[in-house]
Each structure stands twice: as structure tokens, then as C-alpha cells.
Amino acid sequence: MASNANTPGSGVLTRRSWASWLLGTSLGATVLAFLYPVLNYLVPPESSEPSLSEFELDLKVSDIPPNSGRIVPIGGKPVLLFRKPSGELAALTAVCTHLDCTVQFRADRSDIWCACHNGVYDLNGTNVSGPPPRPLTKLDVNVRGDRVVIRRA
């Protein structure tokens, strides 16, 4: 009878438990239907990476004296363009592999240093001391006419 059908834990499918199940799942589905667009809204869309692989800089070779460096924007990312004491031009990604700060060329020690957590790289981009876990990535540097050209290696 009706009183038997309402006994909890009887394990029998009753009209009441069926209705509760329907209500519960539709409530859950409604919540999910609200959450799905909101959670997706929070994740920003991927920005389209510039497909360029070669960048001609508005820089002359003479703008960078030996044993000095400067940050140049390459495809929206900072790149360290520098000249070794020997006179050779080189470029490395300037984003520290530790926690994303921007590194700098240290002329007095002829190395590359990140001021945030004291990470040090040599002029080949190899991490030599401090917390950085990986080396900086090398980029190709060429001189076309008078201009510096940086290419993704």
C-alpha cells in the first residue's frame, strides 16, 4: 500500500523515488547547463601566434656595442639581443625559465641575469646557477645590409 511504498531503504522502485530521481537529475542537468558556458567563458581564447619566422629589426649593428645587450620585441615576446665581448652577435629568448621574469645582460660579469630570483645563465643561454631549470632558447641572428635580422631557429 501507500505506506509500504514510502518505507525508506526498501530497495523497490516506487513512484516517489522515481519522481525524486527525475527531479534530482533535472536539477543537476540545469546546474551543469549553467556552469558549462560560465566555466568556458573564464578560459580566454588562444591568441593567433604571428606566423612570421623572420624579423628585421629597426636596429643597426653599431647600435649594440660589444659586451652589451638589449631587449627587443619579437612576435610579442621579449628577446635578448646582445654582443659578446668577442664581438659576435647573439639572441636568446629573454623569458627566464624559472618563473617568467625578463632577464638582462650583465656587462660587468658578461653573463645573463634574472633579477627576480637571482638566476644566472652564461652567454650560450645555459643555466649556470640559481633556480632556473632549463636553458634559454637560442635564436638565429643575421646581418642583412646594415640591419639586424632575427630568425626562429
Binding site: 573564464l42 620585441p73 618563473l99 621574469c101 625578463t102 633556480p131 632556473p132 632549463r134
Partner: protein, 355 residues
């Protein structure tokens, strides 16, 4: 007045206010810290609302709008400096409040949820500090945000996505500024208001906790909250306002240089004082510890510490049974000493560079 009283149920309120008491004992002074934190929070709300009238949340205008406020707007320097100094004072008072509640064992049953809402409010305070720090869009805050949003990226599996959501992209840009602005002025205040309401209600429900060492004393007096304790509270608040005004007038908060995404991180860069211990720990962590990435280990440890603080009333079995918990006290002292030592090391001039 009677008309209002009947309709608003003011009698019940007056009844509660008349009954509320603050116990008097050796440690009564620590009861003032909660009220002080609440007051400083309200100062932040008031000055924050005023800052909204001039601030512009975009990468091209944020720095300039703060500069304009500091230089041109009448008393703009005062409002902004009070907001910046007040934030630091607020975090400091919240920390002191938590430390005193810990050692006075005020999180014993039935006040576990009061502690847990309080711990969540401390995390929110740090979130307020971190998100607000970026808003002037200067060099220091730019790199602080680069680091601070790359730290969660070290969490396995969900880390990179979490970092993307925080930054509003793969880099810290104007999109990050928009997000942090929304977080700082809408999301965090909404959550903080709810939590603060729950926290203060719980304190009213359970009354002030008396520390175990004072509990058995028979001749314990009590102070009426209204007006006796509140008056004393207000003296403290007046002193706080005076201190804030003096700090703002004599040491106006600096603005620094505008953020340049294509400049190197400046030497001597470091975060606000309450993040220094984390900052210094990240410096010492080597790239690999027992085959695991150092930063990942650091993030794991920070997370563990946060979880331990949050769940303390459930973990501290001794206090739960109203017995003393010497090991928890020692652990807390050790943690505090380590955090203090790391902070001091970060402040030493050699801490900022390899020189």
C-alpha cells in the same frame, strides 16, 4: 522612533547588544585585534570606492590615471596612499589576529568554523593584496604578477590552465589587468562580505573564547560590549586613522615606473613584505630536488601550509579535547621563525642580487 522599532525589530538587536560581554583577563587586549581588522577592512572599502572614481583599468591608461590622481586630483594622494598603507596594515593586523587566536586556542570546539572562515578571510586578504598590487600597472607590479601567476602554473595537470585563466591569456597583458580589476573590485569583495558576515555572526553566536589558562579562574570579570568595549575599540580605530594619515602624509605611496613588457626585470625587485618569505624560498629552491622540479615542490609546500592553517581546528586533537597541544605550538613557532628569517634575508641588501 517607536514606529521604526516595531517594524525593524530593533528591540531584539538592543537585547543582544545589552547582553554581549567581553571577558576580562590577562589576554583581553588580544580581543581588540578582530575589531581592528574589521575597521581597517572598512577603510579599504571606503578608499577603494573613492579610487574607482578616477581609476581606468587598461594597460594604456591605468598608470596615467593613478599618476593623475596622485598629482592633480585634490587629496588624491591621500586617498591612494591610505588605501596602499591601509592594505599593508590590514594584512598585518589580520596576521596578528590569527597568531593570537592560535596561541589562545580560541579555535577549540565549538568555534572551529570561526577559525576556518577566518583563515579563508586571510587568504582573501592576500588575494586582495596581490590583485590590487597590479592595478597601478608599474614595473614592479608587472613582474610580481608575471611571477605570481606563473607559480600556480607549476601545479601538475591543471596548473597551466589555471595560469591562463588568471592571466586572461598566455602572457601578463592588459587582459590580465582587466581580470585583476574585476577580481579586486567585484569578486573578492562579494566573497569577503559573505565570509566576513559569517565570521562575525559566529563570534556573536559563540561569544568570546576564554583561553584555557584563564578558564578555571573563578573571579573573572566581564566588560559590557556596548558601550564599554566598543568605546575602547573606537579609541584604537582613531589611533589607526591617525597612523594612516601620518603615513600617507609623510611617506606617500610611490608609483614607480610604468610597466614595460619589453624591459628587463629591475635589480632589487621584490614583492610586498607579506610575500617576502615565499619569494626568498623560491630563490633558494634549486631547479631539481630529488628529480622533481624545485618550483613544483615549493608550490606543493605552500599549498600544504595553507591547507594545514585552514584545517587546524580539525587537526589539533589536543585542543579539540581541551588539552594543551605543545607540539602544535612548537610547529607554529618554528613556522613563524622560518617565515621571519626568510623575510629578514629577503630584506638584506645582498638578497636582491648576486653581488
Amino acid at each position: 522612533m517607536e514606529w521604526l522599532r516595531d517594524r525593524l525589530g530593533l528591540e531584539a538587536l538592543a537585547h543582544v547588544a545589552a547582553k554581549k560581554e567581553v571577558p576580562i583577563h590577562r589576554y583581553t587586549i588580544f580581543y581588540y585585534l578582530g575589531g581592528m581588522a574589521l575597521f581597517l577592512f572598512l577603510v579599504q572599502v571606503a578608499t577603494g570606492i573613492l579610487l574607482l572614481l578616477y581609476y581606468r583599468p587598461s594597460a594604456s591608461e591605468a598608470f596615467e590615471s593613478v599618476q593623475y590622481m596622485m598629482a592633480e586630483v585634490p587629496f588624491g594622494w591621500l586617498i591612494r596612499s591610505i588605501h596602499s598603507w591601509g592594505a599593508n596594515l590590514f594584512v598585518g593586523v589580520v596576521m596578528l589576529h590569527m597568531v593570537s587566536v592560535f596561541f589562545l586556542k580560541a579555535y577549540r570546539a565549538p568555534r572551529e568554523m570561526t577559525w576556518i572562515t577566518g583563515a579563508l578571510l586571510l587568504f582573501l586578504a592576500l588575494g586582495f593584496g596581490f590583485s590590487g598590487y597590479l592595478l597601478p600597472w608599474n614595473e614592479l607590479s608587472f613582474f610580481a604578477t608575471r611571477v605570481g601567476t606563473d607559480v600556480p602554473a607549476q601545479i601538475p595537470v591543471v596548473g597551466p590552465l589555471l595560469s591562463r585563466i588568471l592571466r586572461g591569456g598566455s602572457d601578463v597583458t592588459g587582459a590580465t589587468l582587466s581580470r585583476f580589476y574585476g577580481i579586486h573590485v567585484a569578486i573578492l569583495p562579494a566573497v569577503a562580505t559573505l565570509l566576513l558576515g559569517a565570521h562575525v555572526l559566529l563570534v556573536q553566536k559563540h561569544g568570546m573564547s576564554v583561553p584555557p589558562s584563564e578558564e578555571n579562574r573563578t573571579s573573572r570579570g566581564a566588560l559590557r560590549f556596548f558601550p564599554d568595549f566598543l568605546m575602547r575599540d573606537m579609541v584604537g580605530w582613531l589611533v589607526a586613522v591617525g597612523l594612516l594619515a601620518a603615513l600617507a602624509a609623510f611617506l606617500p605611496w610611490e608609483l614607480g615606473k610604468k610597466a614595460d613588457p619589453f624591459a628587463s626585470a629591475p635589480s632589487g625587485i621584490r614583492p610586498e613584505w607579506y610575500f617576502l618569505w615565499m619569494f626568498q624560498a623560491l630563490k633558494y629552491l634549486p631547479a631539481k630536488v630529488a628529480g622533481l622540479p624545485g618550483e613544483m615542490l615549493g608550490v606543493f609546500f605552500f599549498g600544504l601550509l595553507g591547507a594545514a592553517i585552514l584545517a587546524l581546528p580539525l587537526l589539533d586533537r589536543g585542543a579539540a579535547r581541551n588539552r594543551s597541544s605543545p607540539w602544535w605550538n612548537r610547529l607554529a613557532l618554528l613556522t613563524l621563525a622560518a617565515a621571519l628569517a626568510l623575510t629578514v634575508l629577503a630584506l638584506l641588501p645582498a638578497g636582491g642580487s648576486a653581488r
